[in-house]
Symmetry: C2
């Protein structure tokens, strides 16, 4: 404990600021003395002319030495004078000691995003990152301050009796991404400041403190990380930061205004999802991710050591949602992690992602679910466009995308049957032979066809062949080769898969056998229906996919805070 | 596929209703014939008196047989007559064929909870469970219908040309927990119906369909499962359903009105948590549960097979939250599963629970976080009491509890320092020697002391000894044996633990070494702070604990949909 005490005391001792002594002048004086002694060594047995030459050179050397000595004396005098000149800015700047909640003076901090020319003349105190800084001579430093999505210009300038040259020099040495506390005056700018999002003011600094510095060089600059993905790359002009480099240094990457906006939008999607479903009588559930058995066939599951046995990570809340329906919850949703042990290394697969899942009872027809889901998506799109135009615009500066389009009003969402979707592709030249299923490539092609023909980025395919769906999917009542199932698409990629489920345990066991699943291996699943389960249906949405496709981020890793794929478990 | 077609056709063929043929009369006729032949076998070599006796007995037997034959004939005639009498209720009742979304007549369903005497005379269609039913003679059946938290009485009564005896008989055979579709007329009840939550009306049924029956006997009745936990147990009067039996049959158990209310309150806590934090500028994050390394010392972690290597399940989002702060998110929260590989089999430990976690930057003092958390809890308590009185009352009928109390207004929440809490316990007679830490037993004792002295079920302990907290906890600036950390308590149990964290990587590594943690083993954690991290603090709340303690459920398993502990991975 004594050790802690000492260490803490050491930390506390660090004074309000630390002006570094300048090593420069002393170093140059030492090198001068060395030159002088070298000259003296060369002085024996020469000719007259040589002597004259030597005398001249000696004179030269002497003069040089005298000049050097004079320079040195001047530098020393200057340094002494500087040291003696009291720093008028003492108490206005420096490195703060480690923040341990020493005191609470209750000085209000201001958010950059709330400031504009209307605040002209106000005194503000701002904690922010130094995104970049630029010194102009020795008397002026411009700082570009950043908070989340916003930046603001601040100016520190030598001012008699207030801002010293020492203070400006210290500020000029601040690292990019240092965290500072800035006190200053809001000052209206005569012309828009292009480098800042708050462009009609700047802050005239009168105090500047370093809260936290960096221990390492930045792996890339935030400016480089924020450039438009579609900007042409010019040799030597800037470095494009590769996705892998970003993900390896995700903490820095996430600081870009683009990423701040992306994850604000991720939050918004979750909120809009809940808001809509809460309004429709749903309740949120939390189902266990640790399962005693692998619950669904198909997708592979991760195995967990569980005390003396094993458990498995849920590959979806499918069973739990359905059990909640059998337990009379009527309408449930869940937002939670979903785990897939699939070795898929594509732009749209993760081993862990966030599922937005819902399940509800059906009264008459599974289209009740389909319509609710459609209502949900449209409310999502509207919510994003209406409440988050700023974030969408911020992301758009780095990831250029046509605005996302969907159909509103009486026209309604485009819904094709699987057969109609296939016909569209065949019309476009795809061979019907390969269209038993629609693969990723043809999905995208279909997306383009639909966009051209119907001017929408969002549509539904209904009535998938039963053979393409999991065993728990309810067959069509008339054509048993079809099923009561649907997929939803955004920009030609599937973002939701859903269906009416089989609620009768005897029929369910039959369907399992037909699909080659032994009902005995899924007793837990089947048992869920033996005590009476109402007809129901639902769907599962991948949060990161919706975010990626709405913003056209082109890689799902960009829509995940700390993405996990078969090759990435860090950071 | 042909097989599916046949099976589906079979299902579809099942007609609208199936009147069972009554086996009773035939069985009794057969047993009469048997008696007759037994009598005939006993007829050789007797005495006269014996003969007389035999003759008499034969006469008796003959008469008996004749009577039986007559009875049989009558029964047959009655059955024939009954079969010939057209069932005036055909098309009003029966088992529905498997729901495959065959049609969509758009008949509106009504929620039981919306009905009252104001709807007198209205026609309604209701899908509900049959909680219980009671036949009165052969002409009347009372059904207790249930939807989530609400029940309603419905009456089916023989009525000329509308409701037949056959229909009533069929209804009387419905199983408890069958799902039915009931059409009827809302009828004001002359006196309150004690057995139903909607007590001023009943439904006079004119159609009744079985949507889904049961494949098995119920493991316990819903009535038994819903009884007050504090009601005295009287031999033979009813069965108390044990927690383990409930959890083994969780789907049935969850159907009780109590559980419907508990999980509605669980949802409410999540919503109130988010609502408050959204209003305070927080953003919701989703951090990965799969980790490349065990990130915190102390609690054990579950190991996962991850392709050719291993991963670990996050035992808290601690690291991720802090990394989000280092990435400038400023204020973040997460609602998600937390995994603990601790072999703790207590009333308050789960191996998987839902963490309500938050982290925020600090400007001047960690009490900024403490105050925000306090505001959060009070808004939670208020929200539950104001918006969910019905659910709290429903749960209270089974789990009796004093109303949860907290201090509002200027008085503010009670906050004791750790030292003050220890003093209170010492005053009460606990030896100071055992109070280096406050164990669970003394925690509860403290809760009782505080309740008596301050009349509150909710309070804070601040300034824990540094030795009791994890390595990342910020020491107190003056007394380095203390720390900037706090716990929150409800009814004498800890529900939140939080602190200011160390944001400086060099100081953090020092603290690790002091606590015996090798910084090299936690490089990922340390690296998170190397590029500048603002001062910050936060806390983690166990959702199930808050729910359990607010409602006094006495076991955390009751607050988890499908609980997981060292011995339970199903259902």
């Amino acid at each position: 404990m004594a050790e802690i005490i000492d260490k803490v005391k050491e930390k506390v001792k660090e004074v309000g600021h630390a002006v570094k002594s300048e090593a420069g002048p002393q170093e140059s004086a030492e090198s001068m003395n060395k030159n002088q002694s070298e000259a003296n060594e060369e002085n024996d047995g020469p000719s007259k002319s040589a002597l004259k030459k030597q005398a001249k050179e000696a004179e030269k050397a002497k003069k040089k030495a005298e000049q050097a000595a004079k320079k040195e004396a001047e530098a020393k005098a200057r340094a002494k004078a500087e040291a003696e000149v009291p720093d008028c800015s003492t108490g206005r700047y420096g490195k703060l000691s480690l923040h341990q909640s020493q005191s609470r003076p209750n000085r209000k901090r201001t958010d950059i995003s709330t400031l504009s020319a209307k605040n002209d003349g106000e005194q503000v105190l701002i904690r922010a990152r130094v995104q970049t800084l630029r010194a102009q001579g020795s008397r002026m430093v411009f700082l570009n301050l950043r908070q989340r999505q916003d930046t603001l210009q601040a100016l520190l300038q030598v001012t008699d009796n207030i801002i010293s040259k020492q203070m400006v020099k210290w500020a000029a040495g601040l690292q990019d991404e240092a965290i500072v506390l800035v006190g200053g005056t809001v000052t209206k700018s005569p012309e828009p400041i292009k480098s800042a999002t708050v462009d009609d003011i700047e802050i005239h600094i009168h105090e500047l403190w370093l809260i936290a510095g960096l221990q390492d060089r930045l792996p890339f600059s935030l400016d480089d990380a924020s450039r438009s993905e579609t900007a042409p790359e010019v040799e030597g002009q800037f470095n494009r930061v590769l996705l892998d480099t970003r993900l390896n240094n995700r903490i820095i990457d996430l600081r870009t205004q683009t990423n701040q906006a992306i994850f604000k939008l991720q939050h918004a999607i979750g909120d809009l999802f809940r808001e809509y479903l809460n309004g429709q009588g749903f309740i949120e559930i939390h189902s266990p991710k640790l399962q005693g058995a692998a619950t669904e066939s198909g997708a592979s599951v991760f195995k967990v050591s569980y005390f003396k046995g094993n458990a498995f990570l849920a590959q979806s809340p499918q069973l739990a949602k359905q059990m909640a329906i059998a337990a009379d919850f009527e309408r449930v949703y869940e937002i939670g992690p979903v785990f897939r042990a699939e070795d898929s290394n594509t732009h749209r697969h993760l081993t862990e992602f966030i599922g937005l899942d819902l399940e509800m009872t059906i009264e008459e027809h599974y289209h009740e679910v389909r319509e609710l889901l459609d209502g949900l998506f449209k409310s999502l799109f509207r919510g994003l466009r209406e409440k988050h135009a700023k974030e969408i615009a911020t992301v758009g500066r780095q990831f250029e995308a046509e605005e996302f389009k969907w159909r509103e009003g009486e026209e309604g969402t485009l819904s094709l049957t699987f057969k109609e979707a296939v016909d569209l592709l065949v019309e476009d030249g795809v061979s019907r032979d390969v269209l038993d299923d629609i693969n990723t490539e043809n999905e995208k092609r279909l997306g383009r066809l639909v966009k051209t023909k119907y001017d929408t980025d969002y549509f539904i395919i209904d009535k998938f062949p039963l053979a393409l769906r999991p065993f728990y999917t309810m067959p069509d009542p008339v054509d048993p080769t079809l099923s009561n199932s649907y997929d939803f698409f955004m920009r030609g990629e599937e973002i939701l898969s859903g269906a009416q489920r089989i609620h009768d345990p005897i029929f369910l066991a039959e369907q399992m056998r037909i699909k080659g699943v032994d009902p005995d291996t899924m007793k837990g699943y089947l048992d869920g229906f033996r005590m009476g389960c109402p007809p129901h249906g639902g769907g599962g949405i991948g949060l990161e996919r919706v975010l990626m496709l709405f913003l056209k981020l082109n890689n799902i890793r960009r829509a995940s805070l700390f993405p996990r794929d078969p090759k990435r478990l860090e950071p």
